[in-house]
């Protein structure tokens, strides 16, 4: 029987992988993918919490599951803008590497 803890563990691992990807990888496409992974890890937690929090009628608390739909929609909008920026960057510099965009410095 899968418990709430198992789901939270998987979600925590996914979130950490995503965070490490954003921090360590240098390719912007991979960074965008890692950001999506982090959001989906959070979604997994939300759904798991919702499923295991059963009210007296035996129904799960659906608030969090509805919230997940909002998160998915917003994430799609975010990626749309992100990819558009990426295309603009590639046209201007022929690169998607974050090392090459460091002209602004302290």
């Amino acid at each position: 029987m899968t418990t709430l803890g198992d789901y939270l563990l998987v979600s925590g691992i996914l979130f950490s992988i995503g965070f490490a990807g954003v921090m360590l990888r240098r390719n912007l496409i991979v960074i965008l993918m890692s950001l999506e992974l982090m959001l989906n890890a959070a979604n997994l937690s939300l759904v798991a919490f919702s499923r295991f929090r059963v009210d007296p009628n035996g129904l799960p608390n659906y608030n969090a599951q509805v919230f997940v739909f909002f998160v998915i929609t917003v994430a799609a909008a975010e990626v749309a803008v992100g990819l558009a920026l990426l295309v603009a960057l590639f046209r201007a510099r022929q690169t998607t590497d974050v090392k090459d965009i460091s002209s602004l410095k302290f």
Partner: protein
């Protein structure tokens, strides 16, 4: 309180307008419709001068701003007034709706000044390509800000925060042919999306601990001593990371200098005022349930200290005025966080209003001067002779940001420190006062350049009528609030 005849007259007008009955959610819908109409006009009427769109937007927002004074606020902040239980229309949120509208109006005026720069960044296209969207996007951001200050449910906070953020992604990288702007846009996108991920994960943990997303019911759930607080605390810290990013608190400030310097200047002004103010409103609302837990307060004191010290020290060596204002924006987040620690809503509100006036004033002057000279502080050399009006406006902006008496900035700092002294947060007051001293050095550096250095060029800098009006209004209100702060203090109490 004694009713003056003036108040009585206003009350009569209010009563008669009750017949028409404007409710708070209608304000946002009106602004949303305005934004869509402007996008439609821009799409189908290709022949018109695009500046007309900006003037229409300013007029439309001004009408909504006037209408917002006739909205009857709901008596209790806990009482939801619309969108099921997501939305409240208490006095606090209506005040900040007006704040958002005012900011957007001033930013749109700045954008009309900035239009030549946008136009030059779209080479080869039709002469006015891109301007329509440039004027329409701030309106959608404004809708997001207005919803955000009313949001009392995490779902709604998330959605309206993202409405603000995603329209800012586009605005920040708007002049994308400029490599610096593009770089700023990408940095903002990646770090902002990262903070969003932390926000959602934090909300998930808070929901997991309490089973609630509504802030009011969350308070009740957290007050239950039988509950396990550690999961809720983890969620609160994650949410705090996301909000720290919005308000530019250390250690989540790394994006601020680069994005502020690279973004189109009116957008920088909008980011530093609109986005920060909304961040603080959400922070005050979100923290309220968690103040029962002592760990929360200690954490925020630490963040406030770091922000004060880092923001003020890093601003010292800056030579680029836009970057200097970015570090100053971090420093001001530190002072505001002192107010948040003491949970003095009136002090934070007054500080935000003062911050709006003086920051928008500085940016308005910067936009005009930057097109003639540049953004470096050395480009302001001898401005007093080239344009006494702009130099005086910048002088008022800088002394108010530094906190010289008889300006709004001084009273803002005074109320914050007073609240901290009352709560015996001596550490915060001491560090705060020392960093104010630091602030004097780098703000007065700009004043020195304008009044004591000689200019290379001596030609006059022209200022158009609308900007002259906006800048004059900002100067007058900065000084007026520094001498007579009562209207703002009353606005939340009445």
């Amino acid at each position: 309180m004694k009713e003056t005849p003036h108040r009585a007259w206003l009350q009569d007008l209010r009563d008669s307008l009750q017949m028409i009955m404007i409710t708070a959610p209608e304000l946002e819908i009106a602004v949303l419709v305005l934004g869509m109409v402007i996008l439609m006009v821009e799409a189908f009427a290709t022949k018109i001068d695009k500046r007309i769109l900006a003037f229409a937007a300013i007029a439309g927002l001004a009408v909504v701003l006037v209408a917002s004074f006739f909205v009857a606020p709901s008596p209790s902040p806990a009482q939801a007034t619309g969108f099921w239980n997501f939305y409240t229309a208490d006095r606090f949120s209506i005040f900040f709706k007006q704040f958002a509208l005012l900011t957007t109006i001033v930013v749109l005026i700045m954008m009309t000044d900035y239009a030549p720069v946008v136009r030059s960044s779209f080479p080869g296209a039709t002469p006015q390509a891109g301007l329509g969207e440039f004027f329409a996007l701030p309106i959608f951001t404004c809708v997001g800000l207005m919803y955000l200050v009313s949001a009392i449910d995490f779902v709604f906070i998330f959605v309206s925060l993202e409405l603000v953020t995603i329209s800012f992604y586009v605005l920040v990288s708007f002049t994308r042919r400029n490599p610096i702007t593009l770089e700023a846009g990408i940095k903002y996108l990646v770090l902002s999306a990262l903070s969003t991920a932390f926000l959602v994960y934090g909300i998930a943990w808070i929901f997991g601990a309490t089973g609630q997303t509504n802030l009011h019911r969350l308070t009740q759930a957290l007050a239950n001593p039988a509950m396990n607080h550690s999961a809720a605390l983890l969620g609160m810290v994650l949410v705090l990371v996301a909000l720290g990013f919005k308000i530019a608190a250390v250690p989540f400030q790394i994006w601020v200098p680069d994005v502020y310097q690279g973004a189109p200047t009116p957008v920088t002004a909008y980011l530093s005022v609109g986005s920060k103010a909304a961040g603080f409103v959400v922070l005050l609302r979100v923290l309220q349930p968690f103040l029962l837990l002592p760990e929360t307060k200690r954490l925020i004191i630490l963040i406030a200290l770091l922000t004060l010290i880092y923001g003020n020290l890093a601003a010292l060596p800056q030579a680029n005025l836009k970057r200097l204002l970015a570090y100053s924006s971090i420093a001001h987040a530190g002072y505001l966080l002192i107010g948040v620690v003491c949970f003095d809503v009136r002090a934070v509100t007054f500080y935000l209003v003062a911050y709006l006036l003086m920051t928008l004033l500085s940016f308005a002057v910067l936009i005009i001067v930057a097109q003639q000279a540049g953004e470096e502080i050395s480009d302001f050399d001898g401005l007093a002779r080239r344009s006494p009006f702009l130099a005086f406006a910048m002088l008022i902006g800088m002394v108010s940001l530094a906190g010289v008496p008889f300006t709004a900035g001084f009273l803002g700092k005074f109320y914050i420190f007073y609240a901290a002294v009352l709560q015996r947060q001596i550490m915060l007051v001491v560090v705060g006062v020392i960093t104010v001293g630091c602030g004097f050095y780098y703000y007065l550096k700009v004043v020195r350049a304008m009044y004591w250095q000689s200019a290379e060029k001596s030609d006059k800098i022209p200022v158009n009528g609308l900007s002259r009006f906006a800048i004059s209004a900002l100067i007058i209100s900065t000084i007026w609030l520094g001498i007579y702060p009562q209207p703002i203090l009353d606005a939340l109490k009445r």
